[in-house]
């Protein structure tokens, strides 16, 4: 069960799923590895369900489960991850001793009796709402309390929770459901048992005398609590409310991986989700002790770097110990056409110099005891064939490869002798890569005399090649389409700087990864703190005032002075002099974006591309009046029936279609022109299209 995660039962045990109870924690990179320990899966049976209500992020899970760190697609919302601040209460205390829950419960009871609870034990008190509320401890009714007293009791319990000296555990959940019409059944629900989710918030109703007043709250109680968030939004509540608690930092609602995206509060939200997906696929440092590991397959980046623009999470979780990428000089440029449609161009010289180089470590375990029948188990051994000289350069006298040896594909790397059949066998590498033998470990634990088991680790280089996927930290991924020579790259006239990679500007408008632009700007200075919501937190503390403006403000002001406004470049104010300002509708720009990507490139492409982009794309033949230039005014004139009939006997010849221009009242200027269909589409949207025809341009 532990190995496969599969439940083997006859009855099914009334469980909703049989497989997937355990998963292997993959070590593709460290982020992926830690994610396995923070993941919560709702259950495989829900995946097949039509209803989507289980996938919703509910108010009680806000702050406990990360809204960003969930995969899109089939398991969306079912596979969640705990936020970075979320914890699970434990059976053990901080010293590692088992906690005595009965003692904890009895101490809570004595506290409750002390504040005026009528215990239910000696004699059941018949009291109920609205006069009195019952108190439940871990699901058992322990007593009742007058409704007027409850608020005081709750406040008292919370105070005891926070103070270190009290007997009340700090992870006690004080779920107070107030009296309401049609709401949840009122009462005071206390929970001590593990394992529950808890997360820290600051209790601001207490006097800030001792410590930080950090209280651990649970999902049940948080729905009935007033928690303000220093992002300035207060959870979308417009009216003032008296908050008793306050979030420590808005980033607390994000998971570790989501917290690594710089300025993530400026990105379109799905991009942050994609980023969390992709951060787990990157090649980086998966472990520190590669030298001593025998994992099946490990990826290792040769020259990793810490990002220039970092969030505070990088320091907090020492992500620098497990880096996942390098910094690069990026040009955002429609350069050769090789960066269209999310492709990107790498600078060949940068790659030559070691950018994004990596290694793949693969370990093969050869256990002679493992395969074959019991009888010949001890009859086999690693040994080199003395007669086969060709093997001697690769395999040493024990029958195993030399460390540091280069093994070509198809070449043997170990030799096994079978005593009973007096035959030799050799293992060879699969695949087409040249491997180096990185390390050989022998295991002589179980065998008395003969070597039976060996771990051989191979290593091969994995440098960027065409087709490799690269990504920024903002859900912007691309495939390397060319390794472009350094000399053909654009360069800065002043510094001579050439880009390491080129991406297409069309990656930005529809995806709205503003944070990526911010990161690019921020990376020009040596160190920038890119923790999301940094701006709003400052405001809430009221200390901001004199502090320098954040990068985002600065950037926004820069755009404003350059004539940009909320809608883009200042089209609309300028357009007021003309007749139609706003009606140049939004759709136009939508079409533009999709078409642009093709049109832009035409000058750089050969004539053959005309076929690709036009004839095979949206080829359309239309009648255009060359006098007024319009394609909408064309109208057909039905040829007169009688004229056809006069020929008699013969099948009616196809009458020449007669087209006139409705506006010019003449058919003189009518021409048949091939054009992209999008022209007609634009024309149909009240956009005035005039085509100027010349003879030569006719297709």
């Amino acid at each position: 069960m532990l190995k496969t995660g599969r439940m083997v039962t006859q009855s099914g045990l009334d469980l909703q799923q049989r497989a997937g109870y355990t998963v292997e924690a993959e070590r593709l990179n460290f982020l992926r590895f830690i994610s396995f320990f923070r993941a919560v899966h709702r259950g495989a049976s829900f995946a097949g369900l039509r209803t989507t209500s289980v996938r919703k992020l509910l108010p009680e899970s806000c702050g406990f489960l990360c809204p960003v760190r969930t995969p899109d697609g089939e398991p969306c919302g079912l596979l969640n991850h705990m936020t970075s601040t979320c914890r699970v209460t434990s059976y053990y205390d901080s010293q590692g001793n088992v906690r005595d829950f009965s003692k904890i419960r009895s101490s809570i009871l004595s506290v409750l009796i002390g504040v005026g609870m009528m215990p239910s034990l000696p004699k059941l008190v018949k009291a109920g709402p609205p006069a009195a509320l019952s108190i439940l401890l871990d699901g058992r009714v322990v007593g009742a309390i007058p409704s007027s007293e409850v608020e005081k009791v709750v406040a008292h319990l919370r105070k005891l929770k926070v103070s270190a000296a009290s007997v009340i555990p700090d992870d006690l959940e004080v779920g107070y459901v107030p009296l309401s019409m049609g709401g949840a059944y009122p009462g005071l629900y206390l929970f001590t048992s593990p394992p529950r989710f808890v997360r820290p918030v600051r209790n601001i109703s207490l006097l800030p005398e001792e410590s930080e007043n950090i209280e651990l709250i649970g999902p049940f109680e948080q729905v009935f609590m007033e928690i303000s968030c220093p992002d300035g939004g207060n959870g979308g509540r417009s009216n003032d409310f008296s908050a008793t608690h306050e979030e420590i930092h808005p980033t607390g609602m994000l998971s570790e991986v989501a917290n690594l995206t710089p300025y993530s509060d400026h990105n379109q939200s799905p991009r942050n989700m994609y980023q969390c997906q992709m951060a787990k696929q990157t090649m980086g440092f998966s472990l520190q002790a590669i030298k001593h590991r025998a994992d099946q397959k490990l990826y290792h980046l040769q020259t990793p770097q810490t990002p220039i623009v970092r969030t505070s999470t990088y320091t907090k979780y020492s992500i620098d110990e497990y880096p996942t990428g390098t910094n690069a000089i990026v040009a955002v440029l429609a350069y050769t056409g090789y960066d269209m449609e999310d492709a990107m161009i790498l600078n060949k010289s940068s790659v030559d110099r070691g950018m994004c180089h990596g290694q793949i470590y693969q370990t093969e375990t050869i256990d002679l005891a493992d395969d074959g029948s019991r009888s010949d188990r001890s009859q086999r051994a690693f040994r080199r064939n003395r007669d086969n000289r060709s093997m001697h350069s690769v395999i040493d006298s024990v029958g195993l490869p030399y460390v540091g040896q280069l093994i070509h594909p198809g070449e043997p790397y170990c030799s096994i002798y079978d005593k009973t059949t007096n035959s030799w066998r050799s293992n060879s590498r699969k695949g087409s890569e040249r491997d180096f033998v990185d390390y050989v470990a022998v295991d002589i634990k179980n065998s008395k005399n003969l070597l039976q088991k060996a771990n051989i680790r191979f290593r091969h280089t994995r440098n960027p090649i065409i087709g490799d996927k690269f990504s920024s930290r903002h859900g912007q991924k691309g495939v390397c389409s060319q390794l472009w020579p350094d000399i053909d790259m654009p360069f800065s006239g002043v510094t001579g700087m050439r880009p390491d990679l080129i991406i297409n500007p069309h990656a930005f408008p529809s995806r709205m990864t503003i944070a990526m632009l911010l990161e690019s700007v921020a990376a020009k200075v040596p160190y920038m703190d890119a923790t999301p919501f940094a701006n709003s937190v400052k405001k809430a503390n009221g200390e901001a005032g004199s502090e320098s403006k954040s990068l985002v403000d600065e950037f926004g002001e820069m755009l404003k002075t350059c004539g940009f406004n909320y809608h883009g470049v200042g089209f609309f104010p300028l357009e007021q002099s003309t007749k139609s300002p706003g009606s140049q509708s939004k759709e136009e720009s939508v079409v533009e974006v999709s078409v642009l990507e093709k049109w832009n490139e035409i000058p750089c492409l050969l004539m053959g591309q005309h076929d690709r982009l036009h004839t095979c794309s949206d080829y359309h033949v239309a009648d255009v009046c060359s006098i007024c230039g319009s394609m909408l005014t064309a109208s057909f004139i039905q040829p007169q029936r009688r004229a056809v009939r006069e020929i008699g006997g013969l099948p009616p010849a196809r009458a020449p279609k007669k087209v006139t221009c409705h506006a010019c009242q003449t058919s003189k200027g009518m021409e048949t022109v091939a054009m992209p269909y999008v022209f007609r589409y634009l024309a149909a949207m009240n956009i005035k299209m005039t085509l100027q025809l010349s003879n030569g341009a006719e297709v």
Partner: protein, 328 residues
């Protein structure tokens, strides 16, 4: 080849010359020429770099390929690279590329015996040819010699770790691998020509002038103290161009002028036939030598075209270009 001759006589004016840095002005030629020079300097001036590494012992933390790659990137003094043979064309060694005409052998032996970490650097590479050695960074002004700078670090060894290897350096060009490129940076820009409209400038107040001067991210303009003239009770200083080459074609000043409502305050053109080159060398060859070698390589390339100018093979050799050369 009759008809008008378009031959020009480019002129070079050297501004600054150091071992690894050169700044010069290339005039009376066009952008194609300047760019050809830039491209040849980056990608086709030959140098010598380690190309083959045989590792005998490596118990360091870095794996063999990593060390081999690092060795390849160490710049070696390559004055003799121009006269050396490419090992693929070398007939003295039947193409195995290990003879004295086409290769230089290096040895490295390092073992850490003490408790302190041992830095294995480029200084530990023992060359078989005293002309081809790792570039000595300590000579360069960039490093403080008192800092005990010992060359380029290859790997660090702790107690008991050892590195022993043999390396073959060969001639090559940057087109094949960036390690053979002698250029750290080669760039050129059009020499800017800046005209300030004096009449419009007159209309600006001192504060406006100050703001305008400061709108340029680089120091191109300044207020001249000397020519300041009294206007009323105010000292109005004139705006002068202090360093027109500092202009980076960012057009900030032009935008600023427009924002101030004075379009045409300044006009800036790039001179189409004058280029300012900045050349930085990795140290493999001197920056000045790099320029000369580049011109030499460029000449050789053109010679290859000219030699077969009127032969029929030219068509095969150069395809369309050959036909074009013969007046096609």
């Amino acid at each position: 080849m009759e008809g008008v001759s378009y031959q020009r006589f480019p002129r070079v004016k050297i501004r600054e010359l150091k071992d690894d840095y050169a700044k010069f002005e290339l005039g009376d030629t066009d952008a194609s020429m300047a760019n050809a020079l830039r491209r040849v300097m980056i990608a086709e001036v030959p140098t010598i770099a380690i190309d083959l590494v045989e590792i005998e012992v490596n118990s360091s933390v870095l794996n063999d390929e990593f060390i081999a790659h690092r060795l390849g990137l160490i710049p070696l003094t390559s004055e003799k690279a121009m006269s050396m043979r490419f090992s693929r064309d070398c007939d003295a060694c039947d193409g195995d590329g290990q003879c004295e005409y086409c290769s230089v052998e290096f040895h490295l032996r390092a073992k850490c015996m003490g408790d302190q970490t041992l830095d294995v650097t480029s200084k530990d590479l023992i060359s078989s040819d005293h002309n081809v050695v790792p570039v000595d960074l300590a000579d360069s002004y960039a490093y403080d010699s008192s800092d005990q700078q010992r060359g380029i670090i290859i790997v660090k060894l702790r107690r008991g770790q050892e590195l022993r290897l043999r390396a073959i350096a060969r001639k090559g060009i940057g087109k094949d691998h960036a390690k053979w490129s002698p250029a750290a940076t080669v760039t050129f820009m059009y020499e800017p020509e800046i005209h300030i409209n004096e009449d419009l400038m007159e209309t600006l107040t001192l504060a406006e002038r100050q703001a305008w001067v400061e709108s340029s991210p680089t120091k191109v303009f300044d207020l001249d103290e000397a020519t300041g003239q009294l206007k009323g009770c105010l000292l109005l200083q004139e705006v002068v161009v202090v360093d027109h080459e500092a202009y980076t074609y960012d057009e900030e000043v032009i935008k600023k002028a427009e924002a101030m409502g004075k379009p045409g305050l300044v006009e800036i053109y790039g001179k189409e036939d004058s280029f300012i080159f900045t050349v930085e060398s990795t140290g493999a060859i001197k920056a000045s030598q790099m320029v000369l070698n580049a011109i030499e390589v460029l000449k050789q390339k053109l010679d290859a075209v000219r030699l077969s100018e009127d032969t029929v093979e030219a068509d095969d050799q150069f395809g369309e270009l050959g036909a074009h050369m013969r007046g096609g």
